[in-house]
Subunit: 241 residues, 2 copies
């Protein structure tokens, strides 16, 4: 059974790394999991990143192995009890997942074998249909924007409401997502504000965490959802033909 | 002789479309140019976009033809007296430039035949080496991030300084550009704040407009430049081997 914990952001303003979501992670992994496989590909300095992640997971009572320390990335995924992909740059992350040839094996282990998947920020983006709705700068060219496809919609993490006092003339986040929906067949985009988490168990999806989400569906008025909301209907979304 | 006017943004807060840069555009085109070829590919509604652009150029005393109204895009570029590429989504713009097969002919007309090129926002991004330093959402997948290469460095338009009061945890613009420079051979990035313009005449580049620019070079401390600054040294930047 598919099990996902998709987190908007690792660090909430004023708290430590993964602190705002540590209860959600512990509930999600429970005592069934001993060791998490960490994928640090979204940042340049993988050693440093793995040591931050290891510290946070150790405090939660789990071991953590980083994929970049293992002799073979595909084998590491094959043996993983649980997978955590952290944030950073989404383009760098997705390109490296392709370069290391782990896209298919992650998808298979999560969707067919029920290996628990935790994503944060960029790690949440790559769990969806595509990275078309990342906020990151395209610092490197991946072979495709298609991602792991663990759900059939897209997510926009770190969602920000328009600032009515801003004098900046770049597009608001809502305008950006609306431009994505000018393309036919563009899937729904669940925009999760910082502190917000989407928890998926099989065919059931629930919003949790400390903040609300805003759902954009092509041709419809955006809709707000609060923590506790049942989002299972989103898992059934299929490309219209 | 290469002639470029690279504008950070079309609309400055509190003023109309192209209003903040209309004197710069008139000085740049002078009375040598009668009609500008407009490329509206960065936005979905091309008719509407062309009519806004036509209004602004008519007020400045120029005719405007939009490439999407012409029977053949390549022929339109071949006949252009001057080219203006407007803002919107940089990914959509670059993909369409590739789809319409006008990349090479624009490059040739500007670099070899001296056709004046005006870019704003996304139109400025595509004038540079690549779109790796756009701020836009990657709503569509172009065949490459390589762009027109009218200069040998990159630009980040709409540059924003970090907001010391922000509680948002997404990367600052400076962090994003610094991540781009984690890649070897990443060219310099001239970050132009809203209101800022880079004016290139052959091998001479000058900052102008109403705001400052910040220059990022891999491995160096970022540096500030004011309107009037001579930026010609940037045109000489070559990939280190
Ligand atoms: Ca990021
Ligand atoms: Ca834009």
């Amino acid at each position: 059974m598919r099990r996902l914990l998709l987190i908007s952001n690792s660090t909430l303003h004023g708290s430590g790394y993964l602190e705002h979501c540590k209860d959600a992670i512990k509930d999600f992994l429970s005592d069934q999991v001993k060791t998490v496989l960490f994928i640090p590909y979204a940042l340049h300095d993988r050693d440093n990143y793995a040591s931050s992640a290891r510290k946070a997971y150790t405090e939660m009572g789990y071991g953590l192995e980083s994929i970049h320390e293992k002799p073979n990335a595909v084998d590491a995924v094959k043996q993983a009890e649980a997978i955590f992909i952290g944030g950073g740059n989404t383009f760098r992350l997705l390109k490296t997942l392709y370069d290391e040839k782990v896209i298919e094996i992650i998808r298979q282990r999560v969707l067919e074998e029920g290996v628990p998947y935790i994503g944060s920020s960029a790690g949440t983006n790559v769990a969806t249909v595509s990275i078309n709705t990342t906020n990151d700068m395209p610092i490197v060219f991946p072979p495709s924007f298609q991602a792991l496809g663990l759900v059939s919609f897209n997510i926009n993490p770190h969602y920000q409401d328009p600032d009515p006092n801003s004098k900046h003339m770049g597009e608001t986040r809502e305008q950006r997502i609306t431009q994505f929906h000018e393309y036919e067949d563009a899937p729904p985009v669940l925009a999760i504000r910082e502190g917000c988490i989407l928890h998926v168990e099989g065919d059931k999806a629930t919003l949790c965490g400390k903040n609300d989400a805003r759902l954009f569906i092509r041709g419809k008025t955006p809709e707000e959802f609060q923590p506790g909301a049942d989002m299972s209907f989103l898992l059934e979304w299929k490309k219209s033909s």
